[in-house]
């Protein structure tokens, strides 16, 4: 099966987008999820609902508002232009921002769940054994919630990989910049270039299956250690 340079470009772009988004998401979502899991503040419900919004909004709504916000006339886009940067619509940075918003609940939800499930005891114990809060995060929370982090990371990566509507609206299908695999496959089907669509789709299917199998068997091995 033959892949064109455009296909390779889209694959590379997609991996770049997904990895960057996942990393950013874990950085953003971890403290947020921790706060949500531990706080007894009333504002929790509001914040949690806001975080979960992208989950319930169709990508077209999200894409629509992000386009308005990040574009040259939007609050963020125009501010950036004033500061001498270019606006974010139809750019790689733009779809990174969109992906982070779009997949945020997919990172926050599993992390929050696993922080809650862990309960306070492990951290209390570790503190009593002299571990400071950063130490506790890395020696207790991270490994104990490894399942949660794995799920959060896979879901973030995957949800970004499967992102289509938002990028369709905000990305503009620019090769090398915003034409990710999901858009390219759509494009191939429109061009009735079924061979290319099949090749890429089957490639993604196989790759996806292999990655998922690895993740799950790793998770399983981990689960066995813990049980």
């Amino acid at each position: 099966m033959y892949l064109s340079p455009a296909d390779y470009q889209a694959i590379w772009l997609t991996l770049k987008l997904c990895s960057l988004t996942t990393v950013l998401l874990l950085i953003v979502a971890t403290p947020l999820a921790w706060w949500l899991a531990r706080t007894s503040s009333k504002s929790r419900i509001v914040i949690q609902a806001i975080v979960a919004l992208p989950l319930v909004l169709p990508p077209t709504v999200l894409g629509f508002y992000l386009l308005l916000l990040l574009g040259p006339n939007g609050a963020i886009g125009s501010t950036l232009e004033l500061m001498g940067f270019s606006h974010l619509a139809f750019s790689f940075s733009g779809i990174v921002v969109a992906s982070v918003c779009y997949s945020l609940p997919f990172a926050v939800q599993p992390l929050m769940q696993s922080f809650q499930d862990m309960g306070p005891l492990p951290n209390e114990l570790a503190a009593s054994l002299g571990a400071g809060s950063l130490d506790r995060f890395f020696s207790i929370t991270l490994p104990l919630c490894r399942g949660g982090f794995i799920v959060a990371a896979t879901l973030s990566f995957a949800h970004t990989l499967g992102e289509f509507g938002v990028i369709l609206m905000l990305g503009g299908s620019i090769p090398g910049e915003t034409r990710v695999l999901s858009i390219l496959i759509y494009d191939h089907t429109e061009a009735m270039n079924y061979a290319a669509a099949h090749t890429l789709s089957i490639g993604m299917l196989v790759a996806a299956f292999v990655v998922l199998s690895i993740v799950y068997s790793a998770q399983r091995r981990f689960a066995q250690v813990v049980a």
Binding site: L121, P122, E124, L125, A126, A127, S128, L129, G130, A131, G132, S133, D135, R136, S139, I140, P143, L144, R146, V225, V226, A227
Partner: protein, 348 residues
């Protein structure tokens, strides 16, 4: 000295402790289930964020008002009520978790020592799910000790242990306490263990302190009669020409006990029910240990047909549980000189 002025308010429960506890030896905390023992330990450890008041450990301020020193800065060792092992760590990593986080110059206990003394070697190769409750408890105890803490908080550390394991660990804890001088707060329901280990005892009731003080004095208080009246006698080993029996010097009198391994100061726990009184020394009896004592008074026992005879032996308090019938038959009165037969003691 630990100075405590604590308030911890919960929905159906208030903890209110105003007292000063010693930072030498082992202080036992006793009281009925739900009286707040675990809560007190957690408050001292810094694990109760809602706790208000004052905690002063020697010259360190752990809590003033609502400003609290973080748990990890208090250098405490804690064994939680339900031995909790970190599930992602191996048995060995669990044991060493705190040790690795203790500064080299602060380490006073080594893993080798702790492993040997708590018999942890056979456990280190095992997976956590292969450990039984008692084994976990031993590990948790070792882990807390290995932080070389300045205060050890033990929340029912023997709850899941069989007698034999317990019998192996208790003297070890005692030795740790004596050798390292780490003060310990020990919650336990077993007065046996407490009498064996504690120098000091604190009694809680519904979140309030009822009484606290040195063990020997506290034991004669009515408040502790629910645990069964007993006394503690301090004595020291004397030279003897029988190498199977240990001769103990109690003031001017001597006791002989079937122990070999003691040397120096030791304490005898004598349950009041194990003390018999006679007006003359007994002959032709298997009882070896008879001491001359003076009757000081009588207090009521939990059963109306019995009373506790308060005695003095070489200046130390000793309680004897006898039936009122016997008291009448022997015509026991204050200041009478009598002979006490001590059938059973525990020596620590």
């Amino acid at each position: 000295m630990i100075t405590l002025q604590l308030q911890l308010v919960r929905q159906h429960f208030d903890l209110n402790i105003n007292t000063t506890l010693p930072t030498t030896g082992i202080t036992a905390i006793v009281g009925r289930s739900g009286c707040g023992k675990t809560s007190l330990l957690r408050a001292i450890a810094g694990l109760e964020p809602n706790c208000q008041g004052l905690i002063q450990f020697n010259n360190q301020s752990w809590l003033t008002g609502t400003v609290a020193l973080p748990v990890e800065k208090r250098r405490i060792g804690m064994v939680f009520q339900q031995a909790f092992l970190l599930p992602h760590l191996s048995t060995e990593q669990n044991l060493l978790y705190g040790f690795n986080r203790t500064r080299k110059q602060q380490r006073t206990l080594t893993p080798e020592l702790i492993i040997a003394m708590l018999d942890l070697k056979p456990l280190l190769g095992l997976k956590q799910h292969q450990l039984s409750g008692g084994q976990r408890q031993r590990l948790a105890l070792g882990r807390a000790l290995l932080t070389s803490p300045q205060l050890l908080l033990l929340d029912e550390p023997f709850a899941g242990l069989d007698q034999q394991s317990k019998a192996e660990i208790l003297p070890f804890l005692h030795r740790i306490s004596q050798q390292t001088k780490i003060p310990m707060l020990l919650v336990s329901h077993q007065l046996d263990d407490i009498v064996q280990l504690a120098d000091h005892i604190v009694l809680l009731q519904q979140g309030q302190l009822v009484t606290q003080g040195p063990l020997q004095q506290q034991l004669s208080l009515q408040a502790f009669s629910a645990f069964g009246a007993m006394s503690v006698l301090h004595c020291h080993t004397a030279t003897s020409n029988d190498d199977t029996l240990l001769t103990l010097q109690l003031g001017k009198q001597q006791l002989m006990l079937p122990y070999q391994y003691f040397n120096g100061a030791c304490r005898l726990r004598v349950q009041a029910k194990d003390v018999a009184i006679s007006l003359e020394p007994l002959v032709n009896s298997s009882v070896n240990n008879q001491l001359q004592a003076t009757v000081c008074g009588f207090t009521s026992a939990s059963h109306p047909a019995e009373s506790i005879v308060q005695l003095q032996v070489e200046g130390q308090p000793l309680q004897a549980l006898v039936t009122n019938r016997s008291t009448e038959r022997l015509r026991l009165k204050a200041d009478m000189t009598v002979y006490v037969q001590i059938k059973a003691v525990a020596i620590y």
